[in-house]
């Protein structure tokens, strides 16, 4: 029996507008934690700038009407929004598979039960470390670890599927085995072993966070062994860092092909980190319908398909496999968002990327905890 996962075979031509599968809804940037690996922008949206309940619910309806199947309610910490249960209702009533991505901190049992009663489908809980000492140091929040353990029990007691999301970096990658065991102990069905993405605040902490070569190799082995050992009990999602690959990953499954992201103030982004590309203009759901933005918004059409590709991408047989890789990585290391992802061995900036990575891996640095805005003296008084 056929079980194709190719939802969107029509996206073969540049002009075709693909149907998106998933939407990341960043309900708020507020968060009680101060993780140094936070990939949200350095300057965060304040509470007063956040979309209201009604607008979010309209956006969920528009997303469902254009074919989005999954919505990820995220942040910041989405539980910082008092209207979280109402937003869950809005997403569920729109027909979306509704996933709550939470740190657990600030989520009350009453609010959680309310979300479940309204049809929440799945919870993804972040963990910063395998014990209170290490986790609370990374998260910058005393008591955070204990809170997470409690929230995990609420989720499994309700019978809801639980995914544990562990962001890994130089300071905790040596404890990957224990992290996997923690996910098992918490009754998670899935574990995302997420490599730190060096966007936003995390870019400040690259030198403190980027794993060493030896760590990265050991992690791949640990995951491979655990997948065999835990088959049928725990699914482990793990994508190794791509610095050593010959070809880039198809970031986001291709720009503006499968997913989109809404920021707390309503700006619509083709990917979470797209604001690192200074030439792009992002439109807001406050001004235009989500559907129009997806179809014709300039940030979406800029790198959708293959029309924008220069060499070596345009003549490459892999252009519709990896879709040029990551635009943000091209911006960061090649200085040009339309260049080939420098991870690609065909990229002229490939050597520069390798050198930059090697330098960062050999650098020791103190981690700078997340704050609402710039950490430097340049910050206005």
């Amino acid at each position: 029996m056929n079980e194709t996962t190719a939802i969107n075979p029509s996206a073969r031509t540049v002009e075709a507008v693909p149907i998106p599968v998933a939407m990341l809804a960043e309900l708020t940037h507020r968060c009680p934690l101060s993780c140094g690996y936070c990939s949200n922008p350095i300057e965060l949206t304040r509470r007063s700038g956040e979309l209201d309940t009604e607008t979010w619910i309209r956006v969920f309806r528009e997303a469902a009407s254009m074919g989005v199947l999954h919505v990820h309610l995220s942040g910041g910490e989405p539980a910082a929004r008092k209207d979280l249960p109402a937003l869950v209702s809005g997403a569920v009533e729109a027909g979306l598979y509704t996933n709550l991505i939470t740190s657990g901190v600030g989520l009350t049992e009453a609010a959680f039960s309310d979300c479940v009663a309204r049809g929440l489908d799945h919870v993804q809980l972040s963990v910063q470390g395998v014990d209170a000492e290490s986790a609370d140091r990374i998260g910058g929040y005393r008591g955070g670890f204990e809170t997470k353990m409690r929230v995990a029990r609420w989720v499994t007691d309700e019978g809801l599927p639980l995914t544990v999301n562990a962001v890994m970096h130089r300071l905790n990658l040596d404890r990957l085995e224990e992290t996997i065991q923690l996910a098992v102990d918490l009754g998670a069905r899935r574990l995302e072993v997420a490599n730190t993405q060096y966007h936003g605040w995390a870019s400040i902490n690259r030198a403190a966070l980027m794993p060493t070569e030896a760590q990265a190799r050991a992690a791949s082995r640990t995951v491979a062994e655990a997948r065999v050992r835990l088959k049928g009990r725990l699914v482990i999602d793990y994508v190794p860092p791509d610095h050593h690959a010959r070809f880039p990953k198809p970031c986001m499954g291709g720009w503006a092909r499968m997913g989109l992201c809404i920021k707390p103030e309503g700006k619509v982004l083709p990917c979470h980190a797209a604001e690192s590309i200074p030439t792009l203009d992002f439109e807001s759901v406050a001004d235009r319908s989500l559907i129009e933005i997806w179809k014709t918004g300039s940030a979406f059409t800029a790198y959708r398909g293959t029309h924008w590709m220069p060499e070596p991408c345009s003549g490459c047989e892999r252009r519709e496999i990896d879709w040029g890789g990551c635009r943000c990585q091209a911006m960061a290391y090649a200085g040009d968002a339309s260049a080939a992802d420098p991870v690609c061995e065909k990229s002229p900036a490939h050597g520069r990327l390798k050198e930059a990575i090697a330098v960062v891996q050999a650098t020791e640095a103190e981690i700078v905890p997340r704050r609402m805005s710039k950490p430097t003296a340049a910050r206005p008084a």
Binding site: T5, G67, P161, R190
Partner: protein, 109 residues
């Protein structure tokens, strides 16, 4: 977070497949549900970070899971619905449900 993860297929099963007992009751566990997508004109099975497009037969099999019917009951239901030979339907439905069970998309009680 990667949107592509939503489409990632699980590795194909390698081991020989155990059959599901005729009296076992297959059902969709919490967090797994069917949805018709009007835009794509197709049924989908939605699960955490997964969206699986179903062909019409797969959709009918999963729609027959009501938490009460045993595998035998599911097959009876499909036979009545499609007036097809029972042996053929039993083979197809069982193979499909075994595969879905291995992926954690169908539970048994």
């Amino acid at each position: 977070m990667s949107a592509a993860a939503a489409l990632k297929a699980t590795a194909p099963p390698e081991a020989p497949r155990p059959a599901i007992a005729a009296e076992a009751v297959p059902y969709l566990p919490r967090g797994v549900r069917l949805r018709h997508c009007d835009i794509r004109k197709s049924w989908f099975l939605l699960a955490p970070e997964r969206a699986m497009k179903l062909d019409p037969v797969g959709a009918h099999v999963l729609q027959a899971l009501d938490g009460q019917r045993s595998l035998d009951g599911v097959v009876d239901h499909l036979v009545a619905q499609f007036q097809a030979p029972r042996a053929q339907i039993a083979t197809d439905a069982t193979a499909f449900l075994v595969q879905m069970h291995e992926r954690g998309m169908v539970a048994l009680k």
